[in-house]
């Protein structure tokens, strides 16, 4: 596994020679996505991919380039162009140097059958989803992704990794409502189109003919897709050590910024998560506790931010030093309460299935605006009493999780993608949350 990719890495390093320090990553993959809407497959794509990425460093001047061409000529051009570009730019005073050979990541989130999955297998999952919701329309996708990667640098580091991801994320739709059914795993065989379709259809039917509700502060029960969205933003702009050094992060290390029930960590090696076990600088993504019993205890680092802070990389190079590091494979510790118990404890509040189109008003305060989607329900006296039309919120994510604000954590922790994760391929393992208050600032009337 990864021998071909490492062989290409070594050809690139040889082509660079002693002209520069270099780090090379070669990824090959099979990616396929079957997309459906109005209960039929309307887009169905597949690709074989190859990418060679080279960072060359000449006396602290670095340039990164990539190519899809693995021929000797293509590799020669890549090496020549990257070394030349590096030499033409100003030095980076914060260049931390290459990672030395060391411990490798023992992570293998891989399923051979998913790597080999056919379009017929994906269509069968879609067929089952569609059939599980008679009387509703279906829209969404079923995808399989497989990547094999090799990484090597001129300091002697050499690693390989591989990962598969299978995902079903789809809606059942009535004329007035949508319901979400989503599953993800390393194995396509784990996805049950019928189960997800039934969940989506049940939710869509329950949220049909929603009522208007006035904006205001409501207690909320947030399902995992919502919680994953919150972690997207906390990770991207909060636990990012570069953003923190710049004064743009909410993080105050050592302070109880969250409710005492909140425990948050990153761990690519956990069998419940997905992806490759090292970052693009070659650093293993080991467990990193970010919040322990409500106290913010750590930041995610890449090698550049770590060097500036006088610490070690945590393996969270995002692929772009300008964007800074970002923790991946997040886990929010689950609780012991069932979702029914969380709902049952709410006197008057809202059950939220999903969020949509969240954007920062200010990253430092983590105030965002966004909307609910795919199922919003009024809870009265511990019971769901009606469906509600989607609402807009303007809310600080940190504030919502602050001391005393988390009233319950579900026992239903699972992998979920959030609003940004759906665009960038991030996923987190999260439970349903019950929160004391959420600031809804608008509805269908504005």
């Amino acid at each position: 596994m990864g021998e071909r990719e490492l062989e290409i890495c070594n050809r690139v390093l040889a082509s660079v020679g002693d002209r520069a320090e270099a780090i090379v990553q070669v990824s090959t993959g099979r990616h396929a996505l079957t997309r459906f809407a109005n209960s039929f497959i309307h887009q169905n794509v597949a690709e074989d991919s190859t990418e060679v990425s080279l960072t060359a460093v000449v006396q602290g001047r670095l340039a990164t380039a990539s190519s899809t061409d693995t021929s000797d000529r293509g590799i020669g051009r890549l090496a020549e162009g990257t070394v030349t570009a590096a030499g033409l730019r100003p030095p980076d005073p914060h260049w931390p140097g290459l990672a030395a050979p060391g411990e490798t990541a023992e992570v293998d989130h891989w399923d051979q059958a998913t790597w080999a999955a056919s379009p017929v297998e994906r269509a069968a999952v879609v067929r089952a989803f569609v059939d599980a919701g008679p009387g509703t329309g279906a829209a969404g996708f079923c995808s399989t992704d497989a990547v094999i990667t090799g990484l090597a640098n001129s300091a002697g580091l050499s690693q390989t990794g591989r990962a598969t991801v299978a995902q079903l994320d789809a809606l059942a739709r009535t004329g007035t409502s949508d319901g979400l059914g989503a599953e993800m795993s390393r194995s396509l065989g784990d996805l049950d189109g019928g189960r997800a379709g039934a969940t989506a259809a049940q939710k869509a039917r329950a949220s049909a003919d929603p009522v208007e509700l006035d904006p205001g502060h409501y207690e909320v029960v947030l399902e995992p897709a919502c919680v994953a969205s919150m972690l997207d933003f906390l990770a991207r702009a909060g636990f990012n050590a570069k953003a923190h050094a710049e004064g743009q992060s909410f993080v105050h290390l050592g302070e109880a910024q969250f409710d005492a029930s909140v425990n948050l960590w990153s761990d690519a090696s956990d069998p419940r998560t997905l992806g490759v076990g090292f970052d693009g600088e070659g650093t293993p993504r080991r467990r990193l506790d970010l919040v322990r019993d409500g106290v913010t205890v750590a930041l995610a680092h890449d090698r550049r931010s770590a060097a500036q802070a006088g610490t070690r990389s945590t393996g969270h190079f995002s692929g772009d030093h300008a964007a800074g590091p970002m923790p991946t494979n997040l886990f929010l510790g689950s609780g012991t309460q069932s979702v029914d118990a969380l709902v049952g404890a709410v006197e008057r509040g809202l059950l939220v299935t999903d969020f949509w189109y969240i954007r920062f008003l200010d990253p430092k305060t983590q105030v965002v605006t966004g909307l609910t989607r795919n199922g919003l329900f009024l809870i009265e006296g511990g019971r769901v009493t009606s469906a509600v039309r989607n609402l807009r919120f303007t809310q600080s994510f940190v504030g919502a999780l602050g001391p005393g604000r988390v009233l319950g954590l579900g026992d239903d922790g699972r992998l979920a993608t959030g609003d940004l994760g759906a665009l960038y391929g991030w996923f987190h393992h999260v439970p349903t949350l019950r929160l004391a208050a959420w600031n809804f600032t608008g509805g269908a009337k504005g």
């Binding site: 497959i41 074989d48 969404g140 189109y357 954007r359 430092k364 965002v368 989607n390 509805g443």
Partner: protein, 478 residues
Amino acid sequence: MFDVATAAVEGALAAGARYADARVMTTRTEGMRAQNQVVESLRQDESAGVGVRALIGSSWGFFATPCLDNASARAAGAEAADVARASAMVAGPALELAPVTPAQADWSSAWEEHPLQIPLEAKADLLVGVTRASQDAGASLAGASYAVWDTERWFVSSEDARISQRIVECGAYMEAIAVGDSETQRRSYPGVLGQYGTRGWELVRELDLEGNAVRIAEEAQALLRAPQCPAGTTDLVLGSAQMALQIHESVGHAIELDRILGWEAGLAGTSWLELARLGELRFGSEVMNITADATLPGALGSFGYDDEGTPAQCTDIVRDGRWVGVLSGRDSAALAGVAAGGTVRGDGYSRLPMVRMTNVGMLPGTSSLDEMIAATEDGVYMDTNRSWSIDDKRLNFQFGCEIGWEIKGGVLGRMLRNPTYTGIGPQFWASMDLVGNETERRFWGTPHCGKGQPVQTGHTGHPAVPARFRNVRVGVRG
């Protein structure tokens, strides 16, 4: 490269496709970003490959490979046909493609200075220099970046279309961030995420980053001390940069025919527009006129032919406030009973072409910005987007701007921080009563439009002018 694309099409036809097309694409990109006088990233990427579409019955399949030999291309065509056959397991209604005269053509955008031929040292000096100026003027964080794309495509279809195109695009961005105790304030130039076009490096020179670095640093600091934008309902004047974003989000996406047909429901959402009301539905006030014009020289959403071989065209979208047009491709147009709009584009060889915005923009009115402000007794002037969010039918939006000023008695007053406004699309557009004139018009371009699964990044243009809106809710805060 035409032979490779032809082999892909032949492979699909031999495997049973009744229609096929293929694009060989090579893409060279370059980007650099500096912050506080340090170049933090320099990337140069090249990709090359072929993507082929196959239609069997009413079902599509698509396959892409980076291998650019004829045998691999032919195999990719066969794979696309296999994928189409699998699609037929959950097949849709009968499908014909809207007719397009097959073209044999070569097309290229125009540039004076090819941006990849500008020395890297000069580009780095520009970015480092403007961040130095901004930092010296007090910015906590001064950032600057540029991006370049040079894309060549060779398109072949089973209807004998044969089109080559080359499009060169570039642009730049600069920001100054002031970090306060409890919040940050940002000023961007020339607009949020920058300004880009289908032009050469002369576009970046015209932006005059150097001449604006100090101003944005000073404004960012002033915003930390400025009063909050008051909450309430008032008249709102938007600058052209913010209007570009407003048009993009609440008009451009809403008029995509694939959304209207429900094809994007799973991720991007649908549209409040009902096809049955095309031609009679009121979108906004009578001074609202919107076109989608892919023929504007230099604008970011311009090209010669789309990725289905349909010629670029100018389409009326909103005329005198009435909704009259959509953005469409050959399959969506046929289902809707309209002519193919020529707006289908793919983000690289490995992505399925889909309906994208071209240059969706507002036609000029009669007012200057100064006249709008002078005509406003009580209101707020806002510009440069800071946050944007809109619902999945493109109705309920809330946008935040970087900067605002109160308007009292027809005169600009205090600077306001954290200005936001919110509304419902057709009500908001119906409240527009003053539209900027030709001299206020700018061809804004944004290369960051996400759509589709797998997600694709589209390059869209938005000719925009300032405008005034009456009785808008402003000052929403968390």
